[in-house]
């Protein structure tokens, strides 16, 4: 890391700009919307005799897991990976390229890995401020609806979801370095994450899919939506999700590091 450029000041500047932008507003609205929907539609959803209702029946005596499953596995994991997290990074490099800004930025005394880390860390922070900023206080909205839900179980899954967002950010950053257009980057991220969430969505339908789902971080991020919280496993799964993410980050940095711009 370059010691003369104030890395924190750069990150703060970018994060602040992202938070107070159209994308920050969109992320905030989507998160609040999902939270409110999760808190207030849940009762009626659980009683409804639909497909979802059949699945809820699997945890008939566990309203806390019913909630966790519906809210995190059913909605949040998709929203986070397909929309919320990529929103903050899909145009990181492709945007700088198309706007021909990349030459100006990289002529500064920063290395290319630092440039990539600036994009990643500011996206992690902006996503974190909005996602955690909505979901953590959101517990007080949800708890009255689902009194059985403990704060620790809810927080643990929230943190794992945030880490799933970190995975999405690393993959979307790689996509952004590979393609030259913001639109293609967004569509490619959207397509890839829609595809990646499938094995996890299918794990309820067959044993084979459980094994396939284990090759995606989604499985580990949503594990405690159907299982009781265990501290050791929580830490292990958090590490597993980070390990899933790092190769994509490394590939993104390698890609940009060797490229003529």
């Amino acid at each position: 890391m370059d010691d003369k450029v104030d890395f924190l000041a750069v990150i703060w500047h970018r994060t602040y700009r992202m938070l107070f932008s159209v994308r920050g507003l969109l992320a905030l609205l989507m998160s609040v919307y999902m939270l409110v929907a999760g808190a207030y539609f849940l009762d009626s959803l659980m009683e409804a005799g639909t497909v979802t209702g059949e699945l809820y029946a699997l945890f008939i005596d566990r309203p806390d897991l019913q909630f966790q499953w519906f809210f995190f596995d059913g909605a949040m994991s998709k929203l986070v990976t397909i929309f919320l997290a990529p929103l903050f990074i899909f145009d990181a490099v492709s945007g700088d390229r198309t706007g021909e800004r990349i030459g100006l930025v990289l002529s500064r005394p920063i290395t290319r890995p630092t440039y990539m880390l600036i994009h990643l860390v500011s996206a992690i922070l902006a996503f974190g401020v909005i996602f955690l900023g909505v979901l953590i206080p959101g517990y007080f909205l949800i708890h009255p609806q689902v009194p059985e839900l403990t704060a620790s179980a809810y927080l643990a899954t929230t943190v794992l979801m945030y880490l799933l967002g970190f995975f999405a950010l690393c993959v979307a950053l790689l996509i952004s370095t590979l393609v030259k257009s913001n639109l293609v980057s967004f569509i490619a991220s959207f397509g890839l994450f829609s595809f990646l969430m499938m094995p996890n969505a299918l794990k309820y339908t067959s044993d084979v899919m459980v094994d396939v789902a284990k090759f995606t971080p989604h499985y580990y991020a949503t594990y405690f939506t159907t299982h009781n919280l265990e501290g050791g496993l929580f830490i292990a799964y958090a590490v597993v999700i980070i390990l899933f993410s790092l190769p994509f980050l490394a590939l993104a940095i390698l890609r940009i590091r060797n490229e003529d711009l």
Partner: protein, 241 residues
Amino acid sequence: MGAIEIKGLKKDYKDVQALKGLDLVIEEGQVYGFCGPNGAGKTTTLKILVGLVYATGGEASIKGIDVFNDGVEARRHVGYLPESYGMPRWDTPRKFLTYMGILSGMSKADISKRIEEIAGEINLTDNLDRRIKAISKGNKQRIGIAQALIHDPDTLLFDEPTTGLDPIGRNEVLDTMRAFADKGKTVLFSTHILSDVEKICDTVGIIHEGLLIEEGSPEELRQKHEAEDLDEVFLKVASHG
């Protein structure tokens, strides 16, 4: 030691050899005009100096710092203005310049002071807080120059800085570069406009097909080629390769 030294610089693209062993030394305090026909290798050379393009061979240094092995340190000394570049259209110049200053390792207090200073020097003050999208082309180029000067570099690398500007804007850019060099700093700029070169350059280099084929002061070149102006010199040199 030259402020900028380039030795045997080569760059091969897939099917084109853009630089074939370029040698160049620019002394401190000079304004160096880098001329040549389209595709001669001017932009590639500047991009290599700021680490945007990787050379295939050769050596290059700025203020004695190897740009290949210590690019970050070398770029501390450089203010770069590309030929074409984008700026965030919804931002104001002040916000954009602040970001570029932070990326150059400056404190916010220094940046604020420096923005006012530069804006005064290059007549940007009135536009500092308007959105970039609403600013004229000439003033956009001023913002480009301001971002290159924000961290008070020792060396300026400008790629076609006067292209598309009106005569007043052109003169302002030329004056800025000359004033910069008069403070003992170094300017390397590429251009097609040879009258600009005659106005402010201490040395002119003509590059053709990736090699430096002529170099000297404007006066020396005119005498050597028995030409009335640099346009004539350029035509004679470039047409004979």
